[in-house]
């Protein structure tokens, strides 16, 4: 545990400034602990002391100031150094992976308390790539699950998961993983986007995938995430006459209730050759009526279609 008594021999580097009060902007009324911890932290960073007590002080400093970018860097160097010492002692029964797991435990706890912090995920990536060759994907699952339970659209977590897949070269569970989130909330755009980026790594049958997204559109037609996904899927599958005809009939069902359906319908009509430029122009004008806030955009599209663009 952190105990200020452990640092009696460290000369503090206090937070003072050599300008008069009037000149200073944003003068913060620091609490006593902040002043004390930061004064010690600054001295120890300056001296680059890489030790167990430095790690304990560092934890406290980062808790008090999560955005303290140099402290994260310092922490990494401490861990790296301690690990080297530990590895040298391994013959005597010491276990380096125990230490790394303890560090990840600390990071898990810190992450839960600071979900919006920017440093946590890149720090984690550095630990796994630089120091922890025996890390496993499964060790990473609980923290990601907990974070996504709390905020199913947490951008950092979805990004981190994608990084993990590449790092551990494991893609097998990803389609099922996104399905869990889509089932819970069909509007979860993070889950849909992530699913799309995972498609090329999966061995899923594209016809089956098509049925999957069509079912979700049927469930809620006015949902941009699913129509986007369908558009992306169509590009992967290629626009065969049969498929275009199928999607033309499918999207037609929803044109009264969804601007996205209508736009898709217009695209399919053009692709299938059942509508000429003038017809498509008219369709876009109609979308302007059902999506009036974007009327200028749809009118522009209408004009472009009319001019054969």
């Amino acid at each position: 545990m952190f105990d200020i008594e452990d640092y009696k021999d460290v000369e503090p580097l206090p937070l003072t400034q050599d300008v008069t009060n009037e000149e200073e902007l944003c003068r913060i009324m620091y609490c006593d602990e902040y002043k004390q911890v930061m004064a010690l932290m600054r001295r120890m960073i300056s001296k680059d002391e890489l030790s167990v007590r430095a790690l304990r002080l560092n934890s406290r400093a980062i808790e008090l100031s999560p955005a303290f970018y140099t402290a994260w860097n310092y922490r990494f160097r401490i861990i790296e150094h301690l690990l080297k010492e530990e590895t040298q002692l391994q013959g005597e029964g010491h276990d380096a992976s125990y230490m790394l797991n303890k560090e990840l435990d600390w990071l898990d706890e810190f992450t839960l308390n600071n979900p919006k912090n920017y440093q946590i995920w890149s720090y984690r990536q550095a630990l796994l790539t630089q120091l922890y060759p025996h890390a496993t994907f499964s060790r990473e699952h609980p923290i990601m699950d907990l974070m996504l339970d709390d905020d199913s659209k947490n951008y950092h977590v979805w990004s981190y998961r994608k990084w993990c897949c590449a790092h551990f070269k494991t893609y097998g569970q990803e389609m099922a993983f996104t399905e869990r989130f889509i089932k819970r909330d069909v509007y979860n755009n993070s889950a849909w986007s992530y699913r799309f980026s995972m498609l090329k790594h999966s061995d899923v049958d594209l016809d089956q995938e098509l049925q999957f997204v069509l079912d979700k559109i049927e469930y809620v037609p006015q949902n941009i995430s699913t129509w986007n996904y369908l558009g992306g899927l169509l590009q992967m599958m290629g626009t065969s006459d049969k498929l275009v005809e199928q999607l033309l009939q499918f999207s037609k069902k929803y044109i009264d209730e969804s601007a996205f359906a209508y736009e898709f319908y217009a695209r399919m009509s053009k692709l299938s050759g059942t509508a000429n430029g003038k017809d498509v122009a008219q369709m876009y004008s109609h979308i302007a009526d059902i999506d009036p806030i974007r009327d200028q955009w749809w009118n522009r599209k209408s004009l472009q279609a009319d001019q054969g663009k």
């Binding site: 140099t70 630089q130 998961r161 755009n189 209730e257 601007a259």
Partner: protein, 369 residues
């Protein structure tokens, strides 16, 4: 447009000014976490005050010395680097604490303070450019925001993403880089542009894992604009990105009346505002990120976008006329960041704001930016 109807009544304007100025004075301990990134706090407040027509240069003349003291030179082996640190607390002997975001915030703050002397005599463009250069990753052209505090190499524990790419470009632009050769003196432009384009999602916007995000999109487009590389996007790609941005405006009209209430992020009172991603709630800062992005691709903004509903949403839903300031969304407390970007969005739509650099047009012009 309607210059005859000002955005704010005199009473509300004064409340915003007071709200902003308070962030520059004595702050309670609850602000401790900003201690290591104070340049951001000062910039958000100054940028907003300047956009509201306040005379920063005169009002804060006495703080110039303090501002400049955050610009420091640090030596790495045999090379001299310079830039801004996050604040006085980050001044640590024998430790490289220069920060890319704080450097941009610091430089732009001195632009707003009209400190010509700093740019002419104090600033060392060469050593500052070298700092920026060291933040670029060789393997993919992207940027991190800090250097390893001992080794002086791009930090391996920092993230690299479109935010820092944009910031690096904006810094170099601010210190005078205009042509491709100017930029190439410090950074690898080709690999940077390649990285930026690699972050474009299948659906038109830019983002980190395939999900487009309005903040990242604004960073990508602003960086390409400052690099004069927008045409690396084909006109078809621009069109798709534009549509993705236009689609971020939240509405309750037309077929949206039938929007299923099962979408927990949908709120009909968000009408006119902007969301940052598909199916998310409207948020003040995304009005800026989206409107800026749209205006980069399509400068004749008002023939592309209904700006009145955006304005209504900001002024009537997220503006706090009691305390001053803007909040992220309805019923939350006003905060500095959303106040800065709320005002920026309003001024951008009025045509008096340089979105790519995020400062008022008049301030940019004075420094030939």
């Amino acid at each position: 447009m309607q210059r005859d109807t000002p955005l704010f009544t005199e009473e509300v304007l004064q409340k915003h000014v007071k709200f902003l100025k308070r962030h520059l004075l004595l702050l309670p301990a609850s602000h401790q976490s900003t201690d290591v990134n104070l340049m951001a706090v000062v910039f958000y407040a100054f940028e907003s005050l300047a956009a509201l027509g306040q005379d920063i240069a005169t009002d804060y003349q006495s703080n110039l010395k303090w501002m400049r003291s955050n610009y420091v030179s640090q030596k790495v082996t045999d090379e001299e680097l310079s830039g801004f640190i996050g604040g006085p607390t980050m001044n640590i002997p024998d430790t490289i604490t220069l920060s890319l975001p704080n450097t941009l915030f610091g430089l732009l703050t001195l632009v707003l303070m009209r400190d010509m002397e700093f740019f002419d005599k104090v600033l060392n463009k060469k050593t500052l450019g070298k700092f920026v250069s060291r933040c670029q990753l060789k393997e993919n052209g992207a940027f991190v925001s800090v250097l390893d505090y001992k080794l002086g190499k791009a930090s391996i524990i920092d993230s690299h993403d479109l935010r820092f790419c944009y910031i690096a470009v904006a810094i170099l632009y601010t210190i005078g880089c205009r042509t491709e050769d100017d930029f190439k003196e410090y950074i690898d432009v080709d690999s940077l542009v390649e990285f930026i384009l690699s972050q474009r999602s299948a659906f038109g916007g830019f983002g980190a894992f395939g999900e487009a995000h309005a903040g990242y999109t604004s960073c990508a487009l602003s960086a390409l604009k400052l690099l004069n590389k927008l045409d690396e996007l084909s006109s078809l790609e621009k069109e798709k990105t534009l549509q993705w941005l236009i689609d971020r405006q939240v509405t309750r009209e037309g077929c949206w009346e039938k929007q299923d209430i099962s979408n927990e992020y949908y709120n009909e009172d968000d009408h006119g505002g902007f969301q940052g991603r598909e199916n998310k709630s409207a948020d003040t800062c995304y009005a800026f990120w989206c409107v800026n992005s749209i205006s980069i691709l399509y400068p004749n903004l008002k023939t592309m976008l209904q700006t009145e509903p955006v304005k209504d949403h900001l002024l009537n839903r997220t503006q706090n006329t009691l305390t001053g300031g803007f909040s992220k969304c309805y019923k939350e407390d006003a905060d500095l960041y959303h106040t800065c970007l709320g005002i920026a969005a309003l001024k951008l739509m009025e045509g008096s704001f340089n979105g790519a650099l995020c400062i008022p047009t008049h301030a940019a012009k004075e420094f030939d930016l």
